[in-house]
């Protein structure tokens, strides 16, 4: 399974990569914002996207919307891992078609639970 981790902070990408590797995901690539991530997604056969919300270029919510709007990408599950904690934002992400929402700071156990749930639903 090929995963794309999108976050503007390299340390957070590194943490997420380590956690994902521990959960058995070995094919992981990185992008530092939505506008770098989108062409990578369009060019490669990614199966899963983990993204931050607040990034300097294209934000996570806009990346999510772009993925859902692109017929060739719309099937890809997207997990938001973000410090954004406004109820309004969580509702917005849900309406945009997010598959999971993890609020920072988070634990390895939370990540595992959310991933299990996402892939269980997808079958």
């Amino acid at each position: 399974m090929k995963v794309l981790v999108v976050d503007d902070f390299s340390t957070m990408r590194r943490i997420v990569k380590n956690l994902l590797r521990d959960l058995g995901f070995t094919n992981i690539q990185e992008a530092d914002d939505g506008s770098t991530a989108l062409p990578m997604l369009q060019g490669g056969d990614f199966d899963f996207v983990v993204t931050d919300w607040n990034m300097p270029g294209m934000q996570g919510i806009d990346l999510l919307k772009a993925i859902r709007a692109d017929a060739s990408l719309s099937h890809i599950p997207v997990l938001l891992i973000t410090a954004e904690a406004k109820k309004e934002q969580i509702v917005m992400a849900a309406q945009a078609g997010v598959n999971g929402y993890i609020v920072k700071p988070f634990t390895a156990a939370t990540l595992k639970t959310k991933l299990d749930k996402i892939f269980e639903r997808l079958g």
């Binding site: 340390t11 380590n18 607040n54 904690a85 406004k86 969580i90 917005m92 929402y101 993890i102 939370t110």
Partner: protein, 247 residues
């Protein structure tokens, strides 16, 4: 009206009044009576004089407060540098820590694999069910495990010390951030003084004002979640909200 007024009427006014009445200039005489009866003009002038002095003093003080200039040209740029230092040091610490942890993972995995490798034979040995050939191979396995563990535990110890030392950023960044907080307090005081000097009430505005923390919706980590009702406090809140939406 630059005449100093000690009583209700001046000698000059009295003389003019008599002159006007003697020469039959009734209107002019009445005007002087009005002037005497209506002291507002002189009070108004006194008040304007007072205000002018105050304004002059305020402006002078304002210019004298060169601290404002220092704040804008020296202290605030310095604070930016300090905050960048905090970002750099915390990032460095996070990377140092992750370097060490990432180096420990494979070592622990190796030890764990070697333990798993000897486990079946070891179990047989405990059950008195191990033949000589298996025993020899168990000895080789345990020998490898002991050697690996012996060597790698001291390696892990060194890496753990690196993790420990990487936490020294907390002391340094704490000091730097405290300095910046002092500056923020000083700037806050200066701004309030300025608002007061220009007669803009800050109390009224304080009630309405909400901090503007970010462009359109995005604000980063919430630092006062318990004081607000428009944000979630933890992952459970997020899950509850999502499930209430049918997620």
């Amino acid at each position: 009206m630059s005449i100093a007024m000690t009583g209700r009427i001046s000698l000059q006014q009295a003389k003019s009044l008599v002159d006007f009445l003697e020469s039959g200039q009734q209107e002019e005489a009445d005007a002087i009576i009005n002037e005497i009866q209506n002291p507002i003009n002189s009070e108004l002038f006194a008040e304007i004089g007072k205000l002018t002095r105050q304004l002059h003093d305020s402006l002078t003080n304002f210019q004298v407060d060169s601290r404002l200039n220092d704040l804008a040209t020296a202290d605030i740029p310095d604070a930016k540098e300090r905050l960048n230092f905090v970002i750099a040091r915390t990032e460095e610490a996070a990377n140092k820590t992750m370097d060490a942890v990432e180096a420990i993972f494979p070592v622990v995995d190796t030890i764990s694999e070697q333990v798993e490798a000897v486990k079946p034979s070891w179990a047989k040995l405990m059950d008195n069910d191990l033949n000589l050939t298996e025993f020899k191979s168990l000895c080789i396995g345990i020998d490898a495990l002991l050697k690996t563990t012996g060597k790698e535990t001291s390696h892990i110890h060194t890496l753990m010390t690196d993790v420990l030392m990487a936490q020294d950023f907390q002391d340094l960044t704490g000091q730097v951030i405290r300095k910046v907080i002092d500056l923020v307090i000083e700037v806050e005081d200066s701004l309030i003084n300025m608002l007061t000097a220009f007669g803009l009430s800050t109390e009224k505005m304080q009630e309405k004002a909400m901090p503007k923390v970010g462009d359109n919706l995005v604000e980063g980590p919430v630092v006062n979640a318990e004081e607000r009702d428009d944000v979630v406090e933890d992952q459970d809140d997020v899950d509850d909200l999502l499930s209430s939406l049918g997620f």
